[in-house]
Every structure is written in structure tokens, then in C-alpha cells.
Symmetry: C2
Subunit: 334 residues, 2 copies
């Protein structure tokens, strides 16, 4: 067939906020799937803050994207040609297909997507890695008990918006921290959060005190920086801080800012723990089934911020994440 | 009897490194013990970095020492007069008697001291709160397994020197971080640490790499600051960071420095947890018995840095801690 493939490859390691020139746009023939492979036409690309971290050199929980490599990304697409027994042309699948129009795959890390259950973009959000990250990070690492207070930063983002809803489902109070009145209003009125704090409005410490009268038992942090420091001062005894991300720090050009109030962990006999969603791969199915059940029952709402565009437009759409322009899961629809 | 009591009372909240003028020296009649009370003549005063934190206002794991209050301190002394059935004149006791020559007590938090087992100052060190802090912090929070690598900062201090020895007793590798060649030599040759790193010699990152070929499974931190940041970069997967103190930051006049590399906790699926020794009061006896058994068997060595002086000299002796002048447990002998 040899259709034309469009790709975004990493061209340079960004310093600070990435520039469009940190990627190279290329067009070349789509790959021919070999024996045991299939060809996927990518339809939806997941845009995640973690992708910024993958652009950095050095040790992390996954190897960095190398210069010249196709930019790594989770995506949903349709099988267009297959030499693999488990995948047929027309199947809808999700996997780490990268920022490109066509990807050849041997099925590693690929899941079938049931679009009868929910539209494809939802499988990148609430039913994808965002939902799984919220699920395991909150329930396995944060372990909220009924009646306890869960605070989540980046609450209007793909992971944060699900964290708060799962907290509510499990009988905890959910308080979200997000940027802007509109997002905060959506969290409370749209998703049922108990309260939302607009960090851009100032007075964060006072707002936090007001909305966490019994202090904070679980803090699910996607942001880092000042927000992490503010919440550390509100921890309850025995609190758990779940490190999921630090979007405020990903584009720092100077040394990253550490949490100056970290000794509150000692004062409050609290802990701070990191996790990596890929470690839970054996339990994805169990979690996905529960997330899907909540979604069907209307207990969990998924919101996708789907931007129509081309592979070439990936950089500009991706950078919306760091301007806080998305509400819910940011997806590039090709 | 009305003997003369000498006291150091808190006179001002220090900014940065305390000045002698932050305490007031007073002489006044010793208290008369009432019914159910006894009078202790203090002989040895424990000098601990944590005392600096108690001088600050605001929330911590214990209330601050108030202006005008006798400076809080653990001490060992002798009962000189008693109206309490469990204490007789001549008994040797330890408790939070404060920086003063005579203290009246009702027995709250007081333990009898067996000087046949070890000299009185040891009951402020290896057999006192220092030993208990090392014991519970390492074994309950750090949980090293045989063959794992334990790194401890402030390793030549009262807690750190015991942490490394308990790690060895439990079959782990012990690597100490301390200031100066002499202290490092003592850790390795005197106490049996597997290695010691002189942070004052520079090259800390390289030394750490060299002495932790399998990375760091447990980091017991008494120091904070640059040392914490350096060790975060050497964590093994699933590592535990135990927050016991942050002596490098206690006298900071600007905002405390947070660990810039804290996101290594995410990368390495690691955790950082604080603890407060007072929470383990119900288990002190169990731990003290084990520590005493190790001491008797020669598996654990205790070193006290005993300075002869008066109550009036407390400030200058206390400040040695922040110049790193002590090796082992710093004690003021009256």
C-alpha cells in the first residue's frame, strides 16, 4: 500500500519550555508490517505532561526519547493491515504508537478498544493510562479511608479530574486545586468535588485551610512547586503524599524547586511516595473493568479536550498543557 | 532544704544560629517537691540538634519552648528528696528535666537508670532517646533487609553512629556520611561501618557512587540540604528515605531548602517518611532491652562526648553541635 506516513521526531533536547523546533516533521512511506505485525492508522494521540520529561536525557522511569526517534505517545487507531492472528483490519486498538499517522506493531503493549463502551478518546483518558494512573495512585499509594480528605492538584487535568471522582466514590471528601474559576466551577458542579481552589486567585493557604477543616489525609500531586509546599503545611497526622507528577517544574531552566516544607512529613508522621503506572500492568484489566463500570453507572465522568489537527500540528497542541489551556484529557484527533 | 537552683531559660526566639543571649541564666531556690513528687539533682544534660527546632514558634511534633520557660532537655540525675512511692533518694533517673540543676517531677516520662549496665551518659545516648530513635527509625521506618545498603548522614552523631551499627547487626551494609577524616576513620575502624564518606572533602557524588555500587535501599537522614539531594540521586528501586532530622537547615534564616531531587522518589518508586520517637513510647522497653543486650555483647559501641561545665555554660556547649565538633553523643556533665 505504502501510504504516506507523517511523523514528529525529536530533533533537540528542549531547554525550558519546548519550542516547535525541538521536533522535526517528516513525511515518508508508511512501514510495511512484517510477519506477526500489523499496521495501525493512528486516529487519536494522547497528550500528557509526562511526555515533556521523556524529552530530557538521563535516568528516569522510562528511557528518554532519543534524538531522531519518533516522539513517544499513547494513541488509539485502527488496524489497516495485519499479519498477526490477534488483530484484524478494522480493529480499534490503543498502544504507544507515537506521534505519527501510521505505526507497525507486534502487539506489545497494545489493547483492543471497545468503542461500544465509550468513544475512542475516552480510552486515552478515563479508560486509558490517565484513569489507571488515578486509580492505582489514589487507591494503592494514597489509600484514602471513607470520611478522609483527599486533595488533588492539577485537578482539572486528565488524571486529577478522575482522582477526585474516585475519592468521592470511595466515600472520601475531594478537594481540587486548579487554575481558573471556570475549571473550579466544573470540578464542583460538573464532577461533584466537595470544593475547588483556584490557585491563580491567590490566597491559596487561606482557601486550603477553609476547605480542609480536618486537614489533608491524602495529597495526590500532579504539580509540585508552590502548591506542594502549601499542602505540606496542611497535612494531617499520618498523611500520604502521592507523587504523580510535577508539571510546574518540568520546564524549569534552573534547578528544580524542592518542597521547602518537606520536614512537615516528620512533624506529621507522614509519607511521600512515588509510583509508576507501568508497574501495575498486571492489574490494568481489573482497574479498567471497575473504571468502565463507574463510567456506565454515571458515577464517573470523563471529559476529553479533543483538538482536531494534523501530526505537524502536534507541537503547538502539546504546548497547551503547559499553559493550562486544557480541561480534562487533551487529545489530538488526526 | 532550699538549695540554689541554676537554670537556663529561653529568652528570645533565635534567628539563624542561636546566640548565648537567646537564653537567660537565673539562680533561685530549688523547688520544694510536693505530695507525689520528687526532687532530682541533674547530673548530665543531653544536647540534641532537635532542641534548636523546639526554640522556634509554631506547629511541630512537640509544643515550642515558650519564652521564659526553662530550656527543655533530656537529662540524667539523682533523686535527692522524694514524696513519691516509686522513687527513693539516691535513685538514678532519666527524664525531661530541662537545663537546670534541680527539677521537681511527678514521675511522668521518667525512667530508672541502671548504672551497673552502663555509665549514666550512655543512658542519654545508645540507651536513651538517641538509641531509641536509631532503633525505631531504622527498623520500623527504614526496614533494611540483609544485604541491602543503608546510608546514614550525620553518621558520627549520637543517632547516626547507632543507626549504622544496627544496620550491620541486621546484616545490611552501612555507609556513613560525616564531616572530616577523623570521624570517618572512627566510623569504619571504630564502629565497623563498611564505608564512610567525608562530605567536607568534596566529591560527594563520586564517593557515594563508589561506596554504594548497588545503590541505596535505606537512607536515614539527619542532615537534609545538599546531602539529601545527593543521596536521592543514588536511590535504589523501592528505597525508603527516613526523615530523622535536618541539622543543616535548622539555622537557616532564609526559607528552608527543599530536596530539589525529590522526583527521584517517583522515578525509583521510593518513599520518604517522617517519624517521631515519642510515638513509640509503648515499645521503648523492648527496644532498650535489645540495645542493652547488643551493648553488653560488644556488638554495639556507644561513644559520649562528655563536656564538664555548668548550667551557665549550656549555650556554648550546645552550639558545638552546629559546628560539628562532637563525635558521638554530646553531653553536658554538671
Amino acid at each position: 500500500m505504502n501510504q504516506l506516513n507523517a511523523q514528529c521526531r525529536l530533533a533537540a533536547r528542549p531547554v525550558g519550555l519546548p519550542q516547535p523546533s525541538d521536533w522535526e516533521y517528516l513525511e515518508q512511506p508508511a512501514p510495511e508490517p512484517g510477519d506477526g505485525q500489523f499496521l495501525v492508522q493512528v486516529e487519536y494521540i494522547s497528550l500528557d505532561p509526562a511526555m515533556r520529561a521523556w524529552m530530557n536525557p538521563g535516568r528516569s522511569y522510562v528511557p528518554p526519547v532519543e534524538i531522531g526517534e519518533v516522539m513517544r505517545a499513547a494513541a488509539v487507531g485502527r488496524v489497516v493491515e495485519s499479519h498477526h492472528p490477534d488483530y484484524r483490519a478494522g480493529d480499534c486498538v490503543s498502544g504507544a504508537f507515537g506521534v505519527q499517522r501510521f505505526a507497525a506493531s507486534d502487539g506489545g503493549g497494545v489493547r483492543h478498544v471497545d468503542t461500544a463502551l465509550a468513544p475512542a478518546p475516552v480510552h486515552l483518558g478515563a479508560l486509558g493510562l490517565s484513569g489507571l494512573t488515578a486509580y492505582f495512585g489514589l487507591l494503592d499509594v494514597g489509600r484514602p479511608e471513607p470520611g478522609q480528605t483527599v486533595v488533588v492538584s492539577g485537578a482539572a487535568g486528565s488524571v486529577g479530574s478522575i482522582v477526585g471522582q474516585i475519592a468521592r466514590i470511595k466515600g472520601a471528601r475531594a478537594v481540587g486545586i486548579a487554575g481558573g474559576a471556570e475549571k473550579c466551577d466544573w470540578l464542583v458542579r460538573g464532577l461533584g468535588f466537595d470544593a475547588a481552589i483556584d490557585y491563580k486567585a491567590g490566597e491559596m493557604a487561606a482557601e486550603l485551610r477553609k476547605h480542609t477543616p480536618d486537614r489533608v489525609d491524602v495529597f495526590f500531586d500532579n504539580v509540585g512547586g508552590e502548591i506542594l509546599d502549601a499542602v505540606l503545611l496542611r497535612l494531617a497526622r499520618g498523611a500520604r503524599v502521592v507523587l504523580s507528577g510535577a508539571i510546574s517544574q518540568y520546564n524549569a531552566t534552573a534547578a528544580m524547586r524542592g518542597p521547602a516544607n518537606y520536614m512537615q512529613l516528620l512533624v506529621m508522621r507522614a509519607s511521600m511516595a512515588g509510583f509508576v503506572i507501568f508497574d501495575y500492568a498486571q492489574r490494568y484489566a481489573e482497574a479498567a473493568a471497575e473504571l468502565a463500570a463507574w463510567l456506565r453507572a454515571g458515577e464517573l465522568r470523563s471529559r476529553e479536550d479533543v483538538v482536531q489537527g494534523t501530526v505537524e500540528q502536534f507541537p503547538e497542541v502539546f504546548l497547551r498543557l503547559f499553559r493550562g489551556e486544557n480541561t480534562g484529557k487533551l487529545v489530538l484527533a488526526l
